[in-house]
């Protein structure tokens, strides 16, 4: 068992580490070979890599290596002038009074202000720190390459930027690109790619658009034609408003299941996105044992002599002990409604959002038909005489219907790091230790593998959790938090 755990840990660590390591030797050879066959010198290639990625070939990641190979195969022109010196930096071609943004200057400084006037090549720039008279040739040009979600590519001078749009002057006219439609963007100051600014100063697209926070869904489904794979389920975005997932661990143990999710309301601007979604889940043979285990704190055992009461959770019995001998697994259905909002952080950096939802299921239908009427605790198991307990479901109102309500929060700490938290009210929630969760996931507790349905744990019906989610690359996310399943990881493959 211990060996299994170590193997699982090693496998998990290896797969995490393998996500975006340094460039492979094969990729390096391919790049050099392609560059040579296309007639580029080593200097041309170095210059291109420095301008495009800010690093040399040996420091590229695998993803970047693949990008360079694709670019070379597509015949993209990589021959450029040697690395820009300060003198070669492009000067701003358009400066007009009223322009208000971050201005990058030739000496490497950045000023956030408004141009008051432009006279005789002298620009009067007003900032919060004072008013400056700066020669116009000191302002660097600001250009961008923007690809929108339709695949259109715009290249040109950034004329301006509002909270919703980029205004680009292309060679054939001006274009307004909605920020919400931007898929990728490269921004250049003075003709040099500004990766640091791009990645750290502002977010134009969240690195991680969450479709769930921990185990609870948000109202934002997968984008259309996106494939999803996590440690528990696989899914696909059929349209931008409809997706399906299935829990493969349950499927392999005979419980075929299907979880569609439909977003029926959606409004989006560059600053804010709100949505409401209705979801369903259907399992054709849901384990009754799992239901009994999950709600063991709602099952009362009454000693028929002393009248002493305790719950199944507090007793010496397991969930299976109180089940009748021949009980078929049930058709299980659940439905939920969730509202979500995600908006730009008032600081201008990143986004924050919340989701609130409620879920109910039919897990308690016919629940009295599954259990035995009584159970005996034999004397050899205790020092006392045999004890007979009557078994019944709790009659309290809180156990009439299985439910869960949740409120989840997400907050961008960086482009690739989110803080996530959640609080819930759930009459069937049980908190598990890490070791119990690992046993549960790998099926070491006799429950199906690759699913979370442990019969163990302590009831904790009002609870919360928080943690971090890290975007390793465009496709892979990994997170850690402090309740089961403790570790989240999933892949999203766009345009699959």
């Amino acid at each position: 068992m211990r060996l299994n755990r170590y193997l699982a840990l090693v496998f998990l660590t290896a797969s995490l580490m393998a996500q975006d390591g340094t460039i492979l030797p094969g990729q390096r050879s391919a790049i050099l070979s392609l560059a040579q066959s296309n007639g580029y010198s080593t200097k041309d290639l170095e210059s291109y890599l420095t301008e495009s990625y800010g690093k040399q070939i040996n420091n590229l990641t695998r993803t970047e290596g693949a990008e360079v190979i694709r670019a070379l195969q597509a015949g993209i022109e990589v021959r450029r002038a040697p690395a820009n010196t300060n003198k070669d930096l492009e000067t701003a071609s358009l400066l007009e009074p009223g322009m208000k943004k971050l201005f990058h200057l030739r000496d490497g400084t950045i000023r956030d202000g408004e141009i008051l006037s432009v006279e005789d090549d002298l620009v009067v720039l007003k900032t919060a720190s004072g008013t400056f008279n700066i020669p116009s040739d000191q302002f660097l040009s600001e250009t961008a390459d923007i690809t929108n979600k339709k695949g259109e590519l715009f290249k040109g001078v950034v004329l301006g930027e509002t909270v919703e749009e980029f205004i680009i002057r292309t060679a054939f006219g001006d274009a307004i690109v909605q920020k919400r439609d931007i898929r990728t963007m490269k921004r250049y100051h003075g003709g040099v790619l500004d990766r640091q600014y791009e990645e750290k100063r502002k977010f134009y697209q969240g690195a991680a658009q969450l479709i769930h926070i921990f185990m609870d869904p948000t109202a934002f489904p997968l984008a259309g034609n996106t494939f999803y794979l996590s440690g528990l389920s696989v899914g696909y975005g059929l349209t931008d408003n409809f997706m399906v997932t299935t829990k493969f661990g349950s499927n392999f143990s005979g419980d075929l299941n299907f979880h569609p999710r439909m977003r029926f309301y959606h409004r989006k601007s560059a600053e804010k996105e709100v949505a409401a979604t209705l979801g369903f889940g259907l399992h054709r043979a849901y384990s009754i044992n799992s239901i009994i285990a999950k709600y063991s704190h709602a099952i009362t055992l009454t000693n028929n002599e002393s009248g002493y009461e305790k719950t199944l959770e507090e007793s010496e019995f397991n969930a299976g002990d109180i089940l009748k001998d021949k009980v078929d697994n049930i058709l299980y259905a659940e439905t939920y409604l969730v509202f979500s909002s995600r908006s730009v952080n008032p600081t201008g950096r990143g986004k924050m959002g919340w989701s609130a939802g409620a879920k109910v299921s039919n897990a308690f239908m016919n629940r009295d038909t599954w259990r035995k009427d009584e159970i005996t605790l034999y004397a050899q198991e205790t020092a006392d005489a045999d004890s007979i307990f009557d078994i019944s479901w709790s009659g309290e109102g809180k156990y009439k219907v299985p439910f869960r309500c949740w409120l989840s929060l997400e907050y961008d700490l960086r482009t690739n790091l989110k803080f996530v938290g959640s609080a819930w009210i759930d009459n069937g929630y049980k908190t598990l230790k890490l070791s119990q969760t690992v046993d549960d996931y790998f099926g070491l507790d006799d429950s199906p593998s690759f699913s979370l349905d442990s019969p163990r744990g302590d009831a904790s019906m009002i609870d919360f959790d928080f943690g971090m989610l890290y975007a390793v690359n465009d496709n892979f996310r990994v997170g850690i938090h402090f309740q089961q399943p403790y570790i989240d990881f999933y892949w999203e493959f766009f345009e699959f």
Partner: protein
């Protein structure tokens, strides 16, 4: 000589006109987007004469925004309008009530789980508080006019 002078003057005029003509282009694109995305929806705005216009957007022409006010089409010159607000509708209201109901439910469920024997008054108070708070959040989240920029300004 006249030719050279004419060409020079023309060139200067073209160069000087660049920023302005392109701002016009920006505005035209935004007006087209407004017509495409929001025709048939209720909007409101204040024009350059401080006239308040509110109605269903019917059309956006080169010079005017045409809205239906009390069933009659009314035209407003959009040259002095920089922003138009698209008003929330019934479905936004439904979202507010939906979230309010969810809040009320959460308040009720929270008290029956968190308290051993809540009486009707406690259930009523927590449900009302939950519903009120969620309705307030829902109102601020869902029931807010969308601000549409139709100015020619190319800056934030």
């Amino acid at each position: 000589m006249n030719k050279i002078l004419s060409i020079a003057l023309l060139s200067c005029a073209v160069l000087a006109g660049q920023p302005t003509s392109n701002l016009r282009v920006v505005r035209d694109i935004r007006l087209e987007n407004l017509k495409r995305d929001h025709s048939g929806r209720s909007i409101h705005f204040v024009d350059s004469n401080s006239r308040y216009g509110q109605g269903v957007l019917l059309d956006v022409t080169e010079k005017s925004i045409i809205i239906s006010e009390l069933g009659s089409p009314v035209s407003y010159d959009h040259s002095g309008i920089d922003h138009v607000f698209v008003d929330p509708e019934m479905k936004e209201m439904a979202m507010v009530f939906g979230l309010g109901a969810l809040g009320g439910l959460a308040g009720y469920l929270g008290i029956i789980l968190g308290h051993s024997d809540p009486d009707a008054a406690m259930k009523g108070v927590t449900s009302t508080l939950g519903a009120g708070l969620a309705t307030l959040v829902g109102y601020r989240t869902f029931y807010k006019p969308i601000k549409i920029d139709i100015s020619g300004r190319a800056r934030g």
